[in-house]
């Protein structure tokens, strides 16, 4: 016991197979790291579209991967990890927006969004669309971003958002109608 406390395993246990929890940890680390290499950039871009804030997007994505790491042994199908990550990123974006005392994009302040994004999206047209997009309710915004940015099907969006496909359709419809109206107003 004393040797365990000091970090030295008893000789007999060295030859034993690795304890299951260590194996789980190794598998989780390997799996999550591989997923991060493959999908971190895409998820950061998704979070950036939702939040308009690069640093916040990085934080949300990091937190999503940490959450996946903690729950790795509870995933019934690791093939659905990307779906879990997307869901976590969207939840994280929602939570962050909830914590902010004021929305980052004020709709009627008449000022352009000042960010790194603004420097690259030179077209006023695209800035208008992004401003209008961020004025949408969270559910509508998520539905149209998943549909038109990620090109997901209704079923995939429904699974990611935790709502029914009919609700996805409804949210998408209303988002497009609202966007049409807002863009019409601003033109």
């Amino acid at each position: 016991m004393q040797s365990e406390l000091r970090g030295h395993r008893p000789a007999a246990s060295v030859a034993d197979p690795a304890p299951p929890d260590r194996a789980d940890l190794d598998a989780a680390e390997a799996g999550v790291t591989a997923l991060y290499r493959a999908h971190a950039l895409g998820l950061m871009r998704l979070a950036h579209i939702m939040l308009g804030d690069r640093q916040a997007a990085e934080d949300v994505v990091q937190e999503a991967f940490c959450g996946l790491y903690r729950r790795w042994s509870h995933l019934s199908d690791t093939g659905r990890a990307l779906q879990y990550l997307r869901m976590s990123v969207l939840n994280g974006c929602r939570s962050l927006q909830r914590r902010r005392r004021r929305p980052r994009a004020q709709p009627d302040d008449g000022q352009p969004v000042v960010s790194a994004e603004a420097a690259v999206i030179t077209g006023e047209e695209r800035r208008e669309v992004m401003r209008a997009l961020r004025r949408l309710p969270a559910r509508q915004r998520e539905a149209v971003v998943l549909r038109f940015y990620l090109d997901l099907s209704s079923e995939e969006i429904a699974t990611t958002m935790g709502i029914s496909p009919s609700s996805v359709r409804s949210a998408t419809h209303r988002a497009l109608a609202s966007l049409g109206r807002m863009l019409e107003e601003s033109s």
Partner: protein, 435 residues
């Protein structure tokens, strides 16, 4: 002309492009020794610093606290085990307690049923019965076994009867069954007995076509609760369909859209509330045809099966420009069509009434003024009294801070009567609601 969809694709992809390839920071996983998740392990050799030692009196105190928590927990679990369970019994019925509703001001129904999302996005949507006047939650029902979410709600004319649509594979899901279906349940509120009872309806669960998701775009229970109208729209420009289920004998009648002009939004049943006249004969159905919303009045007793051959009472043209926001309903007496409009550069929400007979505008019941650009979302009429003189409506406007579910909109549900809008502060605008 570039569509909104194309503009969205271009803008989101341009925004995404500002996060350059290779710019993702290194992954920072939690320290294994500090991991508090299910895979927690104590690292070997970890020592507590002197400052982290517990005081000598803390251990017995903690032990006492643990014993108290266990005792209270056992007590709560024991009591909960004796409460009515919100799960179907052998006959598929669920009964939960219903609290008394306080009296309601004005001539509006006392009970509102809303579909509220769970605390987490992935959790089931619940049905919440609230008192209209105060918003007090009187009963909460979770989805029946086999269903993940309630998706639609509609009310009969007696203020006590509702129909809920639930989405999921169903209780008997198996390899031979459709993967996901929409099933219908009757919710009966019995204030005398203090119960809210949910029972399966004798309507076949509607399977979702592969790859299309649920095609249902609206439901409406007839005022006498005997028939259920279910609208089916879809995203692929296939014919729209309306099914009318007789809840007494299980029969069904169908109408189909037959016109198809090839436009992406043509021939689609809108995701707007269907509405009945009080006699249960006429159903108002919104058709989204390009930039026009046609409000059809379908005589459900007349012969014929062509949905779009029914009379158009009002055509709201060019709706994206802000003239009309849709969600129009017919008053129970069948004399008026009432719709919400966003006007004057999104600084006004108007409640407008039109003659159901001639389509002529009759006037504006109320104007709600906001600062420029403050209105977003989709205002709608949720309930009307017999003549349309008292309404329950939902306004939408941009809030100064996100709501609990993250929405930036801060809509308000309220009563419109005699040219005034009176908010119902306890009714959440973010839910699908029915009275």
């Amino acid at each position: 002309m570039t569509t909104i969809e194309d503009r969205l694709r271009a803008a989101t992809r341009a925004a995404a492009g500002t996060v350059a390839t290779g710019s993702a920071p290194p992954l920072r996983l939690p320290d294994r020794e500090h991991d508090r998740g299910p895979m927690r392990r104590r690292g070997p050799g970890r020592r507590r610093g002197p400052g982290r030692r517990w005081p000598s009196w803390a251990a017995p105190l903690a032990a006492a606290a643990v014993v108290t928590v266990i005792f209270v927990g056992v007590l709560v679990v024991t009591r909960l085990a004796h409460l009515p369970q919100n799960r179907p019994g052998p006959a598929g019925a669920v009964t939960v307690p219903l609290r008394r509703a306080p009296s309601v001001a004005g001539a509006v129904p006392p009970y509102a049923v809303g579909l509220a999302p769970g605390p987490l996005a992935a959790q089931s949507t619940r049905a919440v019965v609230r008192a209209t006047a105060s918003g007090t939650v009187l009963a909460t029902l979770t989805t029946p076994r086999g269903y993940s979410s309630f998706t639609w709600v509609s009310a009969a004319g007696d203020d006590r009867t509702f129909v809920l649509a639930a989405y999921g594979p169903g209780p008997a899901a198996g390899p031979g069954r459709a993967r996901d279906t929409t099933a219908f349940f009757l919710l009966r509120l019995d204030p005398g007995a203090g119960t809210a009872r949910l029972t399966p309806l004798p309507v076949p669960a509607q399977p979702n076509p592969p790859g299309l998701g649920s095609p249902i775009s609206g439901i409406a229970l007839s005022p006498d609760g005997s028939r259920l109208a279910v609208a089916f729209g879809n995203e692929t420009n296939v014919r729209s369909e309306l099914k009318l289920f007789n809840l007494r004998d299980g029969s069904v009648r169908k109408w189909r859209g037959t016109r198809n002009d090839g436009r992406a939004t043509a021939d689609e049943l809108g995701a707007s509330p269907l509405s009945w006249t009080a006699d249960g004969r006429t159903l108002a159905v919104d058709e989204w045809a390009g930039n026009t919303i046609n409000v059809h009045l379908l005589d459900t007793t007349a012969a014929g099966s062509n949905l779009w051959s029914s009379r158009i009472a009002v055509a709201f043209a060019d709706w994206p420009s802000g003239s009309v926001a849709g969600s129009a309903i017919i008053t129970p007496d069948g004399t008026k069509i009432i719709g919400m409009a966003v006007a004057r550069h999104a600084t006004q929400i108007r409640v407008n009434e039109f003659s159901a007979g001639t389509g002529k505008a009759l006037g504006t019941m109320v104007r709600l003024r906001y600062r420029r650009g403050a209105i977003t979302g989709w205002p709608s009429v949720l309930w009307s009294d017999r003549s349309g003189s008292t309404l329950i409506v939902k306004t939408t406007r941009l809030g100064t801070r996100p709501s609990k579910n993250g929405d930036l909109t801060a809509g308000t549900v309220g009563i419109v009567s005699r040219g005034r809008f009176t908010p119902l502060p306890g009714i959440p605008a973010g839910e699908m609601l029915a009275w």
